[in-house]
Symmetry: D3
Subunit: 233 residues, 6 copies
């Protein structure tokens, strides 16, 4: 019952798609994807300014046990992003500087983990970016089986092996390979469109005019008044 | 039922009062105000070292809908602070760099939002300070009505339009205009008094002596002993 | 009933032990101590890069009342770490720059507090490191008795007076004096061992080989496959 | 600074309005009020099946201090609802069976408290309904001033003295007296309308037809398919 | 981008498998499934003693918008379980007695929702069982598109359309149809085995003997002593 | 390093003391103990109306591993209370009906666990009372060592082997044997005193008069007014 696998092969998106989504960033790529794919805010950046994208190598661990992270390393290719989850909620520090050293040696771009990490100061010095639910030094064991490259859930979001993972100061996004190129194109268009909008807004144009929101506000019954009517809280 | 308003006029405190309270900072102004007006700690600074004060422009939004933030922009004057709330709890990213561009064009001092923000790296580069409950890229819609410049509750604290909002690394404070000048005076006195105390404490004077706490400790039955008596936990 | 004490004498570990544990850091010392002594992740560093170790001066306060912190100052010796708890959960800002000034004047190394702190910007400027549950300016009173140098619980961990407290970006650890030297030796050995491992991992050796995990993975029934079998989630 | 008041007079809604809103219940009255006035879900019923409505007597306490609850008792009239808040977050058990005995002697309908309660088993036996943030026996003191019948914030919602408070298994609602009669009428109409709808739905009519939602679904681009297209997650 | 679907067809498990898993209950079925499929504890029973199993009809909604629940009703067959999620975290009360009436009219067995519900007292009277993240009367709109019968994540667990959902006082479990019969068999064996064990344990046999744990305890270095050695905390 | 023990001998309080504290209940015994010994509110009753007291058998487990609970059973005597903790935070369901059967066979009074339990419906039918942090069916392993009858921390409170544990609908209290008789006496006196007070309060005497609080309110500057002065929020 419940067999455990390390799956070696992963279908990855092309490098241009991945680069375009890294360039777009989490917020823009999420919008370009129709507001899908976002992990919850509890998994967040543990450094400032890092921005990565890569193919997901997914890991499902027993809580408090990092055995399967070790098993996942040799499946990683340069530019991949390791995505680690546990089978029940945990903040234990499953990942530290030794594992980061090993991943950097393989060219892994960064770590997304729905659990805890440790050696934070060293990780920052090494320049290995992490997104985690907690920083907690609590030690873990290597005793229970799990799987590598099966679909997992991280911070409420399904992540499949090979998904394009985008991560920056805004959080983490996971997109299926199949929609990658389309989303990357849409994201590039959004970046252009946002530049134009930014220039107009910086020059003083109001969003209610730029987005033509005044008719909607009127239709919704929003009234403009100089003073709040008496009796209104 | 439940009409929605954009109220254009707000009674603001004078610039000297506002400047004095920004100078005092959240902790000192809060003490000077008789320990009132503080927002809960869940809404916190998303950058380091920013310290602002200004008049509150309040916004009440449907969760996951930032329409009313757009409606609020034209009501802002230079130096104001936008205070955004939702009608039920939400961490969606209702505010990003485009809205910040628009607010900076109007001279708005910063944002306090009891919900999520996104584009954090860009906001930091722009130097637009934000205090928020979450960083979350989750996209929002523009579909539901709300109000601008009605009393709102942010992080458990009532904020009225025009309230003097002080925000720094310690959090956010909201004070009625009516008490502003008095609190500013009291805060200035506290700053002076704290400087004197700081010098004495730095020189080695103990707080129990400086504040004359030894009689109180004795009255409360606190015993000084060299060793904990046996049987005491 | 329930007498309150300020206990003046504390048995401290030797300075070499303390220095060795500071050098090892929280994560390594915690492992060297058999994965014991760690505080929960809710009490965390409020600055980046600080790393301290020292003897615990413990304080038990009524929530929202910092009287006993003042009483604790004169019991502190240079290099000590103040560990503050409340008798029920609280995020009130019980500690600020004046108390920090007083503690720095006595050479105290830092503060660990299972409650809130304030004046964060000033504390960072002063270089006084703090680990806290919250940043909250909420003011406190000086009205209720408590104790200094009795066993306390901070973030779910027992801390006894004199315990060696280690704190850095990974969190906070508290170890009994009796095990200090042994743990310090074990930690030093781990540091050596980790250096050797780090070199091998950096050179591309896999953890599954370095730690000989392949037999364990096989024994646990983990299967290596190229593709996930059909019908598996 | 920050004077403390016990305000004796409160403007209350009429008994028919209050009775009508109790009959409507929290969910229906909240809808009838344009989806306003609801407290957050963290303050919840500590018994099953109780349903009350009454005029708010508001209390603002120092956390861990129930002095002002005692001060509030003599201001209560039969049918009132006591609404207790603290000036910073607390789960301490500020209210137990003795205070409940005192309130029942005055005919108070129930308690809403954004903090902890204790003596839960006895409160249930007495039939005195409570809505609280926590059940926690943690004892409190009587040492700090506060106010009775000033506007407060409970679970993120402004509650003013005299507000009509409705509470049942769904939570707690607070409505201004000024809108009470209008909301009560609207709620009564909703109850009628819901009865009619309930009969139709029970008979098998679909909500998409009853509320005419099919055109909206089409307009929003929702497609009906027999099988999810390939490549769609 | 991001098309929205209502998928009409769902592959369901057979009624005997479903009945067997309902009989086994969440805890036993979860063990029989190799400790997979469990939703997190935040989604919990809102009544006492209900125990259901059925095929999942999944719904993905915009937070604060219950339009797609209405769209899902006609896709439900007798015995199904509705599983509702939102695209970002929400506790709004998206489901009440009218929707429950509609679902009962179609023979739906119950509701699992990673958000809020309301009309709790009525739902209990109706005997319609619900498992939810919150009880909150907060009203919702019908304005944004979503999908029915696509894979969703509820309380950290992937739920696919047609998954066998088991729910009782212990929480909620979701299992793929493909493993249903095998898990049901394994669960039935566990029930038998547990009955035998229960009888032995009730008769005084110790678990350390029944499960032969003494050798493991010895191997792990656990020492049996009459008194804790001195110096051990 | 970090040896693991099962300690067989525990010093227990006398049966009369234990019975008196059960009679007093958590809230009264906590007050009688000078407001000490209370566990945090996160560990709470999973049934209604149960009230127990007994000697603590403490268990320290690896998270997600219930091996040491099995090891603890044979150390229990009739009337004892099992107190289970984990070395890092966990909600896994470490305890179910089989372990309860085993404990009932030994006459154990109940379970206090700072983690999860499962088989809740059966536990209620069996009449075995539990206080837990969570209800979660998540399965656990039997693989890691821990200790029985060493001091532990449960919900922020130190619990020592043999401590008198009192648990009811208000939560859980742990008191050292050494203070048991004194606290039991004080609790009995409080029960008498509370009966007298209850009678007076039921007859309409106000708490402000019964406890003579009017002078304190005046001293603290609380003003009685008919209407809130203008300008006061």
């Amino acid at each position: 019952m419940a067999p455990h696998y390390v799956v070696r092969s992963v279908d990855r998106a092309g490098p241009q798609t991945i680069a375009a989504l890294r360039e777009a960033g989490v917020a823009t790529a999420h919008e370009a994807a129709g507001r899908t794919g976002l992990l919850g805010p509890a998994v967040r950046a543990r450094q400032s300014g890092a921005a990565i994208a890569g193919s997901a190598i997914t890991v499902s661990c027993h809580p408090g046990d990092n055995l399967m992270i070790h098993a996942a390393v040799e499946v990683c290719s340069p530019g991949d992003v390791l995505v680690v989850t546990t089978t029940s909620p945990s903040t234990d520090g499953m990942f530290g500087d030794l594992l980061a050293t090993s991943l950097m040696a393989r060219g892994v771009a960064g770590l997304v983990i729905d659990a805890g990490i440790r050696d934070l100061a060293t990780l920052r010095e090494m320049g290995f970016p992490v997104w985690s639910r907690a920083v907690h030094a609590q030690g873990t064991v290597k005793a229970s089986p799990g799987s590598v490259n099966v679909p997992v859930v991280a911070a409420g979001q399904i992540v499949r092996p090979g998904d394009i993972v985008v991560a920056d100061d805004d959080g983490v996004l996971a997109l299926p390979v199949a929609v990658g190129a389309t989303v990357a194109d849409a994201a590039a268009k959004r970046l252009d469109s946002e530049s134009a909008k930014r220039a107009k807004l910086a020059a003083g144009t109001l969003g209610v005019d730029l987005y033509n929101l005044r008719p909607l506000l009127a239709e919704l019954g929003v009234q403009y008044v100089d003073r709040l009517p008496d009796g209104m809280l």
